[in-house]
């Protein structure tokens, strides 16, 4: 088997005396959904920012196609095909879907010596790409604010895919969503994975992870506690690992297994 598209080996990240990540190893293959599970404070945000080039790791290696890389900026990670979709900051609600979709990479056409934004092309591509994701917009210039939370995540995912992302990092894409919207986003993840894109799905909801994940890694107190393949692990085991074992068992007992 060829090298994973993206591989993080024993990543550590220190902020002064605070150790935010104390050894994280995760890899993702093409067409695979790797779920990274962690409770609040486990280091998920730091992990995402390290992977997307916002932070540089203190120790450890990031490899793309088996080659060691150094992401000096968010832009460098994007150029390497690693796109991050943030939970709240994916879209600008006051701007149109089309303007959001092309933000930072607006298509231009020349007229005389001036360059104008090519809205015909931008709108057409936006409508087409959104349709592929199962969202039929009537017009590309409606404001993103009119879309639901799930649809906004989908626009962000469609944008990343269209601009050549090979690995998608999704930061809690389902945590603020209702049941139906969650289902929509999970089916989008499935669709993207079937197109050969690697997905790193970061969540604290084990059931959402179980619905689409191929492999599962638990992050606890800044460390990864090993990776399990689908079918080898149960919801309960993952939940125990996330919460740190013993306490969760006790809690679950007292709550009658409802957690």
């Amino acid at each position: 088997m060829s090298a994973p598209i993206l591989e993080m080996v024993d990543i550590e990240k220190h902020f002064g005396s605070v150790i935010a990540l104390a050894g994280v190893s995760v890899s993702v293959n093409a067409g695979e959904c790797h779920c990274l599970l962690g409770d609040n404070g486990a280091g998920k945000s730091t992990f995402i920012k390290t992977l997307s080039g916002v932070h540089q790791p203190t120790h450890g290696e990031i490899r793309v196609d088996g080659q060691k890389v150094n992401f000096s900026s968010a832009r460098a990670a994007i150029d390497a095909g690693i796109a991050t979709v943030y939970q709240d900051l994916a879209m600008i609600p006051l701007m149109s879907v089309s303007r959001n979709f092309w933000m930072g990479r607006e298509p231009q056409k020349k007229m005389g010596f001036l360059k104008w934004m090519d809205f015909d092309h931008a709108n057409a591509v936006t409508l087409e790409e959104m349709a592929k994701m199962g969202i039929n917009l009537r017009e590309a210039d409606q404001a993103v604010g009119t879309l639901s939370g799930g649809e906004r995540q989908t626009v962000a995912i469609a944008r990343a895919v269209y601009f050549g992302a090979r690995v998608l990092i999704l930061d809690e894409p389902t945590s603020a969503l209702g049941v139906r919207q969650t289902a929509n986003v999970l089916s989008t993840i499935n669709r993207v994975r079937n197109n050969g894109i690697g997905v790193v799905f970061i969540t604290h909801n084990v059931r959402h992870a179980m619905a689409v994940g191929d492999r599962f890694t638990v992050l606890n107190r800044g460390k990864t506690l090993g990776t399990a393949v689908r079918g080898e692990v149960t919801v309960e085991e993952l939940q125990d690992l996330m919460a740190g074992g013993q306490e969760m068992v006790e809690l679950e007992g007292s709550l009658g297994g409802t957690v």
Binding site: Y86, L89, I92, L94, M103, G104, G134, Q142
Partner: protein, 376 residues
């Protein structure tokens, strides 16, 4: 099962679109409020002040010039506000640039074009500094530019008193005479057309005196040309270019914009510089027209610019607005200010009107914002 089709995503989106009536769709155009306002204002003054000469050629020129002055600074303030920032130092910048031009040309004897170019360079540097401090410290632009409101005003008065012992420096008209750059700010265009219109008897002409037969309005002042040019430039930049998309993005959600590679800080700094540029255009036209620079010029202009922009439908929080709207806001501003004069209304009532219309505009804009983003 087919009856449950409405549960799917597609139907979900369609439902949403159908809920929005055509009226609401029109309402979320940022310019709508100011278009209605402008029509109302014109109808009102056509009824009230029709016989006062307000709509004769010279009356029209009068309120057009005032509106154009507002428009020049409103375009800069508009783009900056959409980019998510304010500039309260616009008025002080107008006074400062004027004094720079006067000192350079009259007091120190440089050619007019050198003085004007120096004023622009100094203003752009101060605009850059404003922007740089805002993006580097993350402080609200309200505070940073409030500081510059005082710093620049103080420097303006100090510089003019320290060098000339006066706060008004005259003699600029003579220096501007025949200067190629000064004519870009102080001249008139279409003078041939206007004398032809006068000969045809379509606009009023002087009845006697040394200029008998010449039209009273003998051309379009460059101030108006600048206003129209800046409005067109600002509108096209904002709505038709990649950079315009970045202006919206920088004001709408700077972090989200930065994540996808929009150079948010650079956009904001450039908009601060553009605002300073507009203030200096205003100042240059003014000193050449008046023939003098005064240290107290431009007082309160920053608020008038911001009010025009808000009447034009821009959100104070950034990310939404329109240059055309801001220009119409400036037009409403100018027509009402001069119209009350023509209609012989006590001029202090103008401020009452201004405060009222500002309040109404902000309430309307907030409502529109909720409609777009679906907030409660």
């Amino acid at each position: 099962m087919s009856t449950e089709g409405s549960v799917g995503t597609d139907a979900n989106v369609d439902e949403r679109i159908q809920q929005r009536s055509t009226l609401k769709r029109l309402l979320i155009r940022p310019e709508l409020g100011s278009i209605c306002g402008a029509i109302l204002v014109f109808v009102f003054f056509l009824l009230v002040a029709r016989d006062s000469g307000m709509f004769s050629s010279e009356g029209t020129l009068n309120w057009t010039i005032v509106s154009a002055q507002f428009a020049i600074i409103a375009v800069g303030a508009c783009l900056l506000m959409i980019a998510g920032e304010f500039d309260l130092s616009v008025g002080s910048m107008i006074g400062f640039s004027g004094i720079v031009i006067a000192l350079m040309s009259v007091t120190w004897g440089f050619p007019m074009w050198v003085a004007i170019i120096t004023a622009f360079i100094v203003a752009l540097s101060i605009g850059w500094l404003n922007g740089y401090i805002v993006v580097k410290t993350g402080l609200p632009s309200f505070i940073v530019t409030l500081a510059f409101l005082y710093i620049l005003r103080g420097l303006t008065i100090f510089l003019s008193i320290a060098t000339t012992n006066k706060t008004i420096i005259g003699g600029i008209k003579e220096k501007a005479e025949g200067d190629w750059l000064a004519s870009l700010f102080g001249g008139k265009i279409f003078t041939g057309l206007f004398s032809w219109l006068g000969e045809q008897g379509w606009i009023s002409v002087f009845k006697g005196g040394s200029r008998a037969g010449e039209p009273i309005v003998d051309g379009i002042p460059m101030l108006i040309v600048w206003a129209i040019g800046l409005i067109i430039f600002g509108h096209l930049l904002l709505t038709r270019t990649r950079f315009g998309n970045w202006i919206y993005a920088a004001g709408g959600e700077p972090q989200a914009a930065a994540y996808v590679g929009v150079p948010v800080n650079r956009v904001k700094i450039l908009m601060f510089m553009f605002t300073a540029f507009c203030a200096t255009v205003f100042a240059t036209c003014q000193v050449i027209e008046f023939g003098s620079a005064a240290a107290d010029r431009g007082l309160l202009k920053e608020f008038e610019a911001i009010i025009s922009v808000v009447i034009g439908g821009a959100l104070l929080t950034g990310g939404y607005g329109s240059v055309i709207g801001a220009a119409l806001g400036a037009l409403i501003f100018g027509v009402v200010q001069q119209g009350l004069f023509f209609a012989n209304v006590e001029s202090s009532l103008f401020r009452v009107f201004l405060g009222t219309i500002l309040l109404l505009a902000v309430i309307l804009n907030t409502y529109i914002r909720r409609m777009i983003t679906g907030e409660r």
